[in-house]
Assembly symmetry: C2
Homo-oligomer: 140 residues x 2
DNA sequence: AATGTATTGCGAACGGTTTGCAAGAGGGCG
DNA sequence: CGCCCTCTTGCAAACCGTTCGCAATACATT
């Protein structure tokens, strides 16, 4: 996880905004919205501008270091992780967790076999209620 | 699929914008963006305003008649369909197709069993290339 | 240290979505 | 059938997250 090397390799400079955004993302265990990232970055260095945060996120995504998820209304960011991760989104508390499921690879095979389609990335988003949460107050 | 009854039942009125938006959505086989919907609605009745389209989409979603997907950058809309549908999004031509996969239900069971989580809706989004498309010109 | 260039901060622009409000139209009732 | 009440609409302005242009800054190389 040497941000510097990855940047160098592609002739990008290691700058303060880039380092701080990357730190924030890699230290977080949950998905963060652009606003949350900007806020935390700003907390660590008030001199870093929002537009740099956006530019950095775009760059890191380009480098496949972070991944943008559009699971909920506002998109969120997280360090890139291996494929085949399932996102569990709690309808009640809003938390997003990861979960490994062996079946995802089976799914990939099934799709490749039956759909005339060559799958690359598979995203599974599961809405529901996590164990810590009571049933949603406003069931839809 | 009697839009009128469903609206009545909840004390909403059947108005022209609502009827036209619903028609456009239910006649389309693919996902439509808000802009596409607005455009087609406007084609059928130039008097219908964009804001009514948005308001109608929100209402229909509330009534579970349509579903908003956030698969790509801009979100798209489609008539609500049964759970467990897989969305195949071609990285090349951008088309979104549906695909049934029996394994989704197995996945649900696996999650319920192993994740301390009660799944309700499962969304599977598969990026890849569809058979009609050549390999993407700009592989990422 | 000096230099050349990528990158930043800033503020303004953007574009899709939402909102406030007066005018308009469903539809229940007489 | 027409009235009336109220829900909806059209319109235009407001919003808000994101992007952009540009001069100033700060990386990295020498």
């Amino acid at each position: 996880m040497e941000l510097e090397d990855i940047l160098r390799e592609r002739d990008f400079r290691l700058t303060r905004p880039r380092r701080v955004v990357w730190e924030v993302l890699s230290e977080s265990e949950r998905h963060l919205s652009a606003a949350e990232i900007a806020e935390e970055v700003h907390r660590r260095d008030p001199g870093i501008n929002v537009s740099s945060v956006y530019r950095t996120l775009a760059l890191l995504a380009e480098l496949d270091l972070v991944r943008e998820s559009r699971l909920t209304e506002t998109s969120t960011w997280e360090p890139a992780h291996a494929d085949a991760v399932i996102h569990l989104v709690c309808e009640n508390c809003g938390a997003t967790r990861h979960h490994d499921a062996a079946l995802v690879e089976d799914l990939r095979a099934e799709i490749a076999r039956t759909a005339d389609f060559a799958p690359s990335v598979i995203d599974v988003r599961v809405s529901g209620t996590c164990a810590k949460c009571p049933a949603p107050s406003t069931p839809r």
